[in-house]
């Protein structure tokens, strides 16, 4: 099953995104805890797009859109995020060192790491003037 939503790239739309994820996945009997992990993953991606993709037109009230598609099958969920912002390959970002001590630690860079470690596969492509970011997550359904 496929389900799609288009939201303006603004973090005020996160609650709408959570609702969309919940509504789509609950139809496939996916458990609450698994949904929370996926909400967290999508929060990181969406927030990243909201904060950086359309930076060049920051003064423009129309910040640009993000299209989010969820495709579910018996044992896998595929999330696809598309935006028309600045080309950005999240896989090119250097991972932070997670073994740093409290004093050494800085405040950024953890979001993409959390995404990478929470899903099974990530793909990035820039096609038709769009960033296309796909996340693959194996699931266990409860009936």
């Amino acid at each position: 099953m496929k389900n799609k939503i288009i939201l303006s790239a603004d973090t005020t739309n996160l609650d709408a995104l959570y609702q969309f994820i919940k509504d789509t996945l609950e139809k496939d009997f996916i458990k609450g805890a698994q949904i929370s992990v996926l909400e967290m993953v999508c929060e990181e991606i969406f927030t990243n797009i909201a904060n950086y993709a359309y930076q060049d037109n920051a003064n423009d009230k129309n910040k640009g859109d993000v299209e989010i598609e969820i495709e579910t099958s018996t044992n896998q969920i595929i999330f696809t995020f598309k935006d028309k912002g600045t080309p950005f390959d999240p896989l090119s970002v250097k991972e932070p060192d997670v073994n740093m001590t409290l004093d050494e630690r800085d405040y950024g860079g953890l979001g993409l790491l959390m995404v990478k470690k929470s899903v099974d596969k990530i793909e990035y492509n820039y096609q038709n003037d769009e960033n296309v970011f796909k996340l693959f997550k194996t699931i266990t359904t409860v009936i």
Partner: protein
């Protein structure tokens, strides 16, 4: 996210419910500021009803943990759900936070 404060002996217990994300983290930080800026503070964060913590939430937890070192304070996080514990493990936060 809903936050409730209660006093237990010397400790301030913070019951958290919902999502600690990029939208709720700034307010969470603001609400806790008065507590973690005090010398020798003692905070207990109860995560029982918390659904997830995003990187924005981790930033605030890191900030309070750094404060606890500077001010001889203490922050304990309890009732952490497995999926949030997983986030603490993958980011190395389980090594720098006190989780009960």
């Amino acid at each position: 996210m809903n936050i409730e404060f209660k006093k237990e002996n010397e400790n301030t217990v913070v019951d958290m419910e919902g999502r600690l994300d990029t939208n709720t983290a700034p307010n969470f930080q603001k609400e806790l500021e008065a507590y973690y800026n005090v010398q020798g503070f003692s905070l207990i964060l109860d995560f029982e009803k918390l659904d997830f913590v995003s990187s924005a939430g981790l930033r605030v937890l890191l900030l309070i943990q750094k404060k606890s070192k500077a001010l001889s304070g203490n922050m304990v996080i309890k009732n952490v759900k497995p999926e949030i514990q997983e986030v603490f493990n993958m980011t190395g936060f389980s090594e720098i936070l006190t989780i009960e």
